[in-house]
Each structure stands twice: as C-alpha cells, then as structure tokens.
Symmetry: none
Subunit: 177 residues, 4 copies
DNA sequence: GATGAATGAGGCTTCATTCAT
DNA sequence: CATGAATGAAGCCTCATTCAT
C-alpha cells in the first residue's frame, strides 16, 4: 500500500528520506505505479495529512457528543483523552505531516472539529472564567497540543500526559485570576 | 555576512530555498568562501540555531534575575514578556530553525535557561499549586510556546499574546483544581 | 476511432501531446486495444500520413484528369485549386505529419500523383518555357506547397492563396527569361 | 563547446536524440555545467536558432547592400545566392531548428532582413509586374526557401539550386501574366 | 584567502509497452 | 477481444561540495 509505505518512510527517515524511489521500493511497486494513484509526490503527503485530520476530527467530534449532558470537567476529560490518544498514534509521522501541512498550505483547518469544541464551551459558558470565543477554543487546543507534544518528546505515558493536559486546560478555563 | 544572508533566505523561502548558491549570492561572497567559514551547509543552520538559543537564554535569564525579590506574578510576567518578545522577533526564521533543530538533533537544550526558570519556581514553591519540578518547568515553557505560536499564526499583537500567555501560565501554576 | 482521436490530438497539442494514453482516452478505448490495431505508436502516425497522402493523391489525379483537353492554364488552375484545398484541410495536422514523415523516412513519395502531374506537363511541353522533367514537376509542387504554407501561416483565404500560387506556377513555367 | 555539441547532435540524431546527457557527453562536460550556461534545454535550442537567424540576416542584408546601384536581376541574384549558401550550410540542423522555432514560438522573424529585401523590391517597383508589398516579399522568400529545400532534399548542387531559384523568383516577379 | 566553474549523484516525472485477468 | 494496472528506462533538472587558479 503506497500510503502505508509513505507513512513508514516519513516516520523512520523524515521528509528527507521521503523520495519516490524509496516509496515505490517500500511499497513493493514501481515508480510508475505511484503516478497512477497520485499525480505527484506532494499529493501523497496531502492524502496522509487528510486522513490524519479526518481521524482527529472524528475522534474529537465523537468525544464532544459522547459527553453531552455531563458536567464540564467530564466533558473536557473526554476531549483531552481523545486528543491525547489521537496524537499518541504515530507521533513522529504526525509531526512531519504538520510541518508539511504548513508548507503545502492546506485550506480549512478541519473547521468542524473546532466548531464542535466551540459548541461545548458555549454549552458551559457560565462555568468558564474567560469569555468563550473562537480564540478561546483555539487557545485550548494549542495548550493541549503543546502538552501532548511535550509528553511525546519526553516519553511520558498517555495517562500522565492526559493528567497534565487536563490540569492546564482547566487552569486556563476555570482559574479566576 | 553569511549568517544574516542565510537567515534572510530561511525567512523568505524556507528550508526549500536554502541552498549554498543562494546563500553565497545573497551574502555577496562566493560558494568557495562559504566553505572556508563553515564546513558544510548544516553547520550554518546550526550556527543560527545556536545564536537564537543564546539570545533566548540570555533574555530569559535576565528576566528571571530582574525579577528577584518581586512577587511571583510580577516575575512570571517578566519571563512571559521576555519569551514573547524573543519569539516575536523573526518568527518565521524561528519556526524553520526549530524544525531543523529536530532534524539535526542538537544536544543540550540550553540547559541554563531552564535551570534559571526552575529556580524561579522553586523560589515560590509554596505559592504554587503544583509540585515544582523540572517537568513542571517544561510544561510552563511548552504552554508559553504554544500561545506564542498561536499568537504569531493568528496575527495577534505581542501585547494580547502576553495576556493570554500570562493567563495560561498562572492558570496552570495557581489553579487549585 | 483511434485514427481520428490521434489526428485531433496532433492538431491540438502537436507531437508533444501525442502519447498512447491520451490517444486511448480520446478514442474511448483502452491502451491495450490500441496495440491490437497498431503494433506501436509510430504506426499510427504512419497510417495518418498514408491516408493524407492518398487523399492528396486522389485529389490531384482527379484534377489532372478533369482537365484533359483543356488549355494549360485552366488545367494548372484545377491542380492548384486541388492542392490548395487539400492543404487547407486540417493544416496543423498536415504540418505535424510532414515533420514526422521526415523522421519516419517513409518510402515512395506517392509516386503516382507526381507521375500524373508530370504527364500534364508533358502534354503541354511546347507551351512551357522550361524543359519538362521530373525535376520541373517537383519544382512546381515545391513552389505550390510553399505558397500554400505561407497562406496558411499568414491566415490568407484559400482564394487569395490560389491566386498567388497560380501566378508563381505560371511565372515559373511560362516566363521567358 | 556546448552549442557546437548540441548542433552536432541535432544534425545527426534530430530532436529525438537531443537530450541533456547526450549534449553534455558530446561537449565533454557534465550535465551540471550545461545548466551554468543555459537555464534549460530549450534555451540551448533558442541560442542556436538565434545564431542561425543572425547569420542569415547578416548575409541577406549584405547581399542587398552589395547590389545597390545594380540592375534588378543582378541584385536578385546576389540575394538568391546569399540565401542558397546560407541554407546549404548545415541544412539538416537548419531544418530541425526551424521546426523547433515554431514550437518555441519565437518572436520577431528577423524583421530587419525582411525589411531590407522589401526595400530592394521597392527600389525597383516599376520593373516588377506585381504590386510590391510585404506580402510580395514574403512570397519571394517562401518560393526561394522551397527551392532551396528541394535542392537540399534532392542533392542538387548549390549552383543548380541557385539557377532554379533565380528562375522561380524572376518568373514570379516579372512574368506579365 | 577568495573565486566560481565543474562535477555527478540523486530526485521527480513521463510514457511506450506488456500481460494477467 | 478488451482492459488498464504495472513496469522501468530515460529524460530534465538541482545542488552540495571540490579544486585549480
């Protein structure tokens, strides 16, 4: 499978080792075949990015929905857990893809997933110590991502990363200056 | 100046446009000369990374020292302000260099700067709601970085980025779950 | 129809866009089928060349025959008209095919058509100011072709091209230096 | 010399054999060196086209000037001779370059050379049986080119080609229908 | 020291042709 | 017969590095 071979190369050698010959070899096909499925090298990366984003999107949306009716903290925990586990899956690949995403300048940043989380915050806006807005939501995500990355970089377990991420998230949203 | 030329190319064209001919041309020297100052291309990047890290280190250390004797929040504000302004300087270059740093696998992550901030936290350990440790310090930095990056990406002013960063930092450190 | 699809591609994209995948796609068949009708790509071009040459041949031979019994100038006019209209049909395709013909080094240059025109000249050899020979006939054709090409290139109408071509032909054959 | 190597390849193998590796090999340099002198393959062809056009231009302009003051036929002979000898120089290369010129869509068709010949015709407009115009001039050139090509294709000597070309040219210009 | 022409491995992509289904 | 995925040689071009001047 070309995408899986590509993913593996990005994981093990990063973008520098990601060349069409290597991909074809790893996938067990010829270079020519690559070009029957993808119009060029970048499009392979784009496909990987897309599938990661979709997976992330689905996970988060599901977490938000699963928590409906529960209290804020429980709901946040579900979301944090979803994000942590999504990013703990093939983290190196994830990193590389994010760097490439910037270069490739993909459009819509999975709008719906952000929308979904924003709705969650709105549902609980009177429990939250900051004004709820798109920016707030972005901040929450940014903080979460940072802690997940730190956890990955330092070899922390998903469990402890989840703890820290929860604390940071709640601190940001609930701390009454 | 070779380093400045390199910096400018990385800023304007990213790592893809960063090649020795372009550097030499921009610096107004010959390729040959490049190789008399730097053994290879990567070493130029390493030099840039080093100088950025030094600058960051110095700024943060100074902020920590300047705040000695003051109360925790004021001190944190100084540090946050230092980090924000350091990253608001040539942010694109900064981004690229960080990506390269990962690839080049540089060693010591500016130990002293972390040491310094860690000391600050220890100075105030009884005001802080989390156990003070190296990990705690890393978390604070990670959260700060995330908000600075978000601010840069969204075009926020240094001032508002500082606000958000302060809030996130304080929330994390002081929020009594 | 494979040949028609090929013709259209040669017309619109020239020899550079003429590849088997494009042909098959345009013809609405699979590449595999192409190779059941033609042993290789060049043979398709050869078939097109052949059909153009046949059409040209037939037109000219008919013009020569239609003029039998008439005076020289009228007969020449018929031939000129035949050549002009033959070349005004799909001129771009015609051009490409001629270039390819050179490369493919086709054999017999539609001998009969030249034979026919040569006979016309012989029929009137005592009205003509140059010795009638195979070479003379070739010259007449060459001059005609040149004026048709010029007409096509400059967007002249078939009518005015015919005028000029007549003049050049008669000038060559009848001018008593 | 890269241009000379390129010319030789075009002569012996046509445009199909004209690839950067072959050029480099024939020129005795590396592919890389090619790209220090020319930005891409087409630009090499363009350079060759340019030099041919310049040579042709110079020859014709000189022929026109050399004939000033002489009678029309003598002047035409000089021009015809110039064109014949220009085209008898590396005719195959010339052919290939002309085909490529069409593809590359070069601009100004050596305007000055046509201007020059047009002036000649104007100088003698009352001896000529056709209205003198740009079109007339183009026709003369077209007819000449056709006869030169025919001469080359049939292996005729420059001398006899010149004869035929003279006759065709004079026939066209002087024949009083 | 400085120069910059030369090198050539290596990367992306195309496309004529084959062959298993 | 038709299909079209697979093949891989071959073409264009880039760029880090070297070295003779």
């Amino acid at each position: 499978m070309i995408l899986e071979a590509s993913a593996r190369i990005l994981e093990s050698d990063g973008i520098r080792g990601f060349n069409t010959n290597a991909i074809a070899a790893k996938a067990g096909v010829s270079v020519g075949s690559l070009y029957q499925y993808f119009p060029n090298k970048d499009s392979i990366v784009r496909a990987l990015i897309g599938s990661f984003k979709n997976a992330l999107h689905d996970t988060v949306v599901k977490a938000v929905q699963d928590g409906r009716g529960k209290e804020l903290k429980s709901r946040l925990r579900l979301v944090v857990r979803a994000l942590v586990s999504a990013h703990y899956y093939r983290p190196r690949l994830n990193r590389v893809l994010e760097a490439e995403e910037e270069r490739l300048g993909s459009e819509a940043d999975s709008a719906a997933f952000h929308e979904s989380l924003l709705q969650l915050l709105r549902d609980h806006h009177n429990e939250v110590a900051v004004p709820v807005s798109r920016t707030t939501e972005r901040i929450v995500i940014a903080v979460l991502r940072a802690l997940v990355d730190l956890g990955l970089a330092s070899g922390a377990s998903p469990r402890s990363t989840e703890q820290r991420a929860m604390r940071a998230t709640c601190g940001y949203l609930l701390y009454a200056g």
